[in-house]
């Protein structure tokens, strides 16, 4: 769903992919299983009010439409080579992702971004990592016609491919009262995607009053989440919006892992300034070069959006690994390590990203809390992945930088030397625990 830019890094990605998720097969399309079924609204923590707001009046949910949408979601014919359906990158048994760093489309081409999950995507205020699409319906054209995803030359080609099956023409007649057209393909698939509700986690049961639903470690993690870890400042939870996202875009210093990020950003700003508004020039640059890391900026052309990506939900993270827009972090410990050291310093870093000074046991508690956000249908898979990640985290911590996390050293260009950050005072009590029970 999120791929956009042509990519020539196939070999690199393949190597990285197999290294990062060695246990995961690259063949993803499994066909519909029970995990692909529409989900019940009868789940602990289900936000019924919010749900009523996000169903668009011009595309109400009906069983026939949902069934049609589901068939289209698994329809290989929507791709140019007849092999890549939506579930190719959004596989139900993988939390509606592909568990790859970045996704593979037709002819084994790789894009530049990590496939976001369909789970709870109906609640997203914008779609794609950079929010360039406003609705589930509108985003569908993106992957269908993107040359490195499903590769259709046009939406007309997609319509023609669907029309070739008489059964589809009949179903479109029944559901929409006319023959196949692309907006209705979009409506049907979006209606199916809106059935993928993912709540009912141990955490939801805990918040509903079941004290025993989550472990003590997860409870400590929830406290850190709301306090010392500052997680809640973007991944907020409340009963009407229990989504763990602020729906905004932030530069958390992920793109800046690449050394060329800042020069690239400066170049883009330069182009923007010199062309007096060169929206087209930026687009050209974005497609012709490795500018995917500039994120939201490519949509808004606003400097403060450089390197900004949408805040993702935190539910079912243990089936949607790896993490971040480029899939660059293999484990939740690596992901938290990234935040703990204050991200990777760059001139466009969001103001909320600061060294956290989390200890090892605090990180373990945070991961235990995140694990408690797993919906029941993924409990077994998540347990397995947790064990793998836990084991790995005991020996491999590429992002761990305790000195930076504790503010004992400057963090790279500009902030090095006499102006380096100092970290949170370790002598103070954990604010997350003050005033708590």
């Amino acid at each position: 769903m999120a791929l956009r830019f042509a990519n020539s890094r196939l070999f690199f990605i393949l190597v990285a992919a197999s290294a990062v998720v060695a246990s995961v097969s690259l063949t993803t399309a499994q066909g519909p299983g029970p995990l692909a079924d529409p989900k019940s609204e009868n789940q602990a923590g289900f936000p019924s009010t919010l749900y009523s707001w996000v169903i668009p009046p011009d595309n109400l949910q009906t069983p026939a439409k949902i069934a049609l949408g589901k068939a289209l979601f698994f329809e290989d014919g929507l791709s140019a080579d007849g092999k890549v359906s939506c579930d190719h990158c959004h596989a139900p048994d993988k939390g509606f992702t592909d568990q790859l760093p970045t996704s593979m489309g037709i002819h084994a081409q790789f894009g530049q971004r990590n496939a976001p999950s369909i789970l709870n995507a109906l609640f997203n205020v914008t779609q794609f990592w950079d929010g360039r699409s406003p609705t589930l319906e509108a985003q569908i054209e993106g992957p269908v016609t993107n040359p490195v995803e499903m590769g259709m030359k046009s939406t007309d080609d997609a319509v023609a491919a669907i029309k070739a099956t008489p059964e589809y023409r009949k179903q479109f007649q029944e559901v929409f009262g006319h023959d196949v057209n692309f907006p209705d393909i979009e409506r049907a698939i979006a209606a199916y995607e809106r059935t993928q509700l993912a709540f009912d986690s141990p955490f939801d049961k805990f918040m509903a009053g079941d004290q025993g639903a989550i472990s003590d470690s997860a409870k400590r993690g929830w406290s850190i989440f709301n306090g010392k870890g500052r997680c809640t400042s973007c991944h907020g939870w409340n009963p009407t919006q229990p989504l763990f996202t602020d729906q905004k875009f932030h530069n958390i210093g992920v793109s800046a892992h690449n050394a060329n990020f800042v020069p690239l950003a400066r170049k883009a700003l330069d182009v923007l300034g010199k062309t007096g508004g060169g929206s087209e020039a930026i687009d050209k640059l974005a497609i012709g070069s490795d500018m995917s890391g500039l994120g939201r900026f490519l949509v808004t052309k606003q400097p403060h959006d450089i390197g900004g990506f949408r805040t993702m939900s935190l539910r079912n993270l243990l089936v949607t690994q790896p993490y971040f827009h480029d899939g660059s972090q293999a484990t939740l410990w690596d992901t938290i390590d990234h935040y703990n050291k204050g991200g990777v310093q760059n001139p466009y870093l969001d103001g909320g990203i600061v060294p956290l000074g989390l200890t090892e046991s605090e990180e373990d508690d945070l991961v235990a809390f995140l694990a408690s956000l797993t919906s029941p249908e993924y409990a077994d898979a998540a347990k397995q992945e947790y064990d793998l990640q836990f084991k790995r985290s005991r020996t491999e911590r590429p992002q761990r930088d305790a000195a930076a996390a504790n503010g004992d050293k400057g963090r790279g260009p500009g902030l090095a030397g006499p102006f380096g950050d100092i970290g949170p005072a370790q002598s103070q009590e954990n604010p997350a625990l003050l005033g708590g029970d």
Partner: protein
């Protein structure tokens, strides 16, 4: 399909269509002229316009009649940057504000072309200590462009300016720059409230640093410095554009927070004979602008924290910035630039760090809000 939310792209395309529809009304010759002028102006300033397709700064690009009238025709326009109100504590006490100050320096150093100079708007330190001022001096030393220093009350009231003056020289001075006369004022003098109360320097500083207390007096330029200002301006023709830098706003906004200069009217009277006067001030930590008679006022952003707007007294011309995100250290903060036009008027760019930049044009102020109303700096909407 009917989208319930308009995406950024949809709004962008709609806005762009509107602009292009408007342009169709122009004949080809004028259209090309406008386009070329726009591109030229943008290139000259390395401006990042609020909307990428807008034909920004067109008015600036055309040498206008006002410029000829002020005798400034042919004078190159110039740009200076500003950083203000860093409020540094020692690093061991507070690293957030250090981070803000460093970010501002990096921001300004990244400008291409570089500004003619960088105005530092005062309140370098939080409590006037040598350690704080020295940290600030080290950070500002990283700036590539020359720095013009201004003093704030937080720099002054621990030792009544001894350390600051030792480091940076006299607090009020003037210079001429590309046809503009620039005056830097020390506008935060206070009447002696400390001797009678037997206050220590630290107590005096803490009192001045507070809001809503009835102990300290109001800021003032004072008799001596007003005299100095009159003398300084005596040799300057009334057609010369005047730029005044002051830490406090040279008008009366909100008394209890000292968003206020007690002798503002008298200072304004000294500036009255001049055709174009622009006052750039610090202290208020917010987007703030005003027009009184011939004088345009612009407040600067802080790099440390944003103040809320005061309960009363906000100039009606100010388009308010909405509440800053408390979780985002940089929200509502920033630095900025001032483009001094060939006619001597000045446009101000608020480079908000975590929001879209906002340009406030002199045309908006001098027309008393009739034209060029700046947009409210909202968070990017969806």
């Amino acid at each position: 399909m009917a989208a319930r939310h308009k995406s950024v792209e949809t709004k962008y395309m709609e806005d762009r269509d509107a602009v292009l529809r408007g342009l169709r009304g122009l004949d080809r010759r004028t259209f090309l002229k406008v386009l070329a002028a726009s591109a030229g102006a943008v290139m000259a300033r390395s401006l990042i316009p609020p909307h990428t397709f807008q034909l920004v700064e067109v008015a600036d690009a055309a040498p206008d009649k006002a410029a000829e009238a002020t005798g400034m025709a042919g004078q190159p326009p110039f740009t200076f940057a500003y950083i203000s109100d860093t409020h540094l504590y020692p690093r061991t006490v507070n690293q957030r504000f250090v981070r803000g100050a460093v970010k501002a320096v990096e921001d300004v150093n990244a400008l291409d072309p570089q500004p003619d100079f960088v105005l530092f708007g005062g309140d370098l330190a939080q409590l006037g200590r040598r350690e704080e001022l020295d940290l600030g001096r080290q950070i500002l030393a990283e700036l590539k462009a020359p720095v013009k220093m201004m003093v704030g009350e937080h720099d002054w009231f621990y030792d009544l300016g001894d350390t600051w003056q030792e480091m940076f020289g006299p607090p009020n001075y003037s210079f001429d720059w590309k046809g503009v006369h620039v005056v830097v004022l020390m506008s935060v003098h206070e009447k002696d409230f400390w001797t009678a109360r037997k206050m220590t320097p630290a107590e005096r500083m803490q009192t001045v640093a507070g809001l809503d207390n009835g102990i300290q007096s109001r800021f003032e330029v004072g008799d001596d410095e007003r005299k100095w200002l009159s003398d300084d301006l005596a040799k300057v023709p009334h057609t010369t554009p005047i730029l005044v830098f002051s830490h406090s706003p040279l008008y009366k906004y909100y008394r209890n927070w000292n968003f206020w200069t007690e002798d503002a009217e008298q200072v304004q009277a000294i500036l009255k004979p001049y055709k174009h006067v622009t006052v750039i001030h610090g202290h208020t930590h917010q987007m703030l602008y005003n027009q009184i008679g011939n004088i345009s006022f612009y407040g600067m952003l802080s790099t440390a924290w944003p103040w809320p707007y005061a309960p009363t007294g906000l100039p009606p011309l100010t388009v308010q910035m909405n509440r800053a995100d408390p979780f985002d250290q940089f929200d509502g903060l920033g630095d900025g630039r001032v483009n001094v036009r060939p006619d001597g008027l000045a446009d101000k760019i608020y480079s908000l760090w975590d929001r879209n930049p906002v340009t406030v044009k002199a045309d908006y102020l001098v027309s008393h809000g009739k034209v060029a109303r700046p947009p409210a700096p909202q968070f990017a909407s969806y």
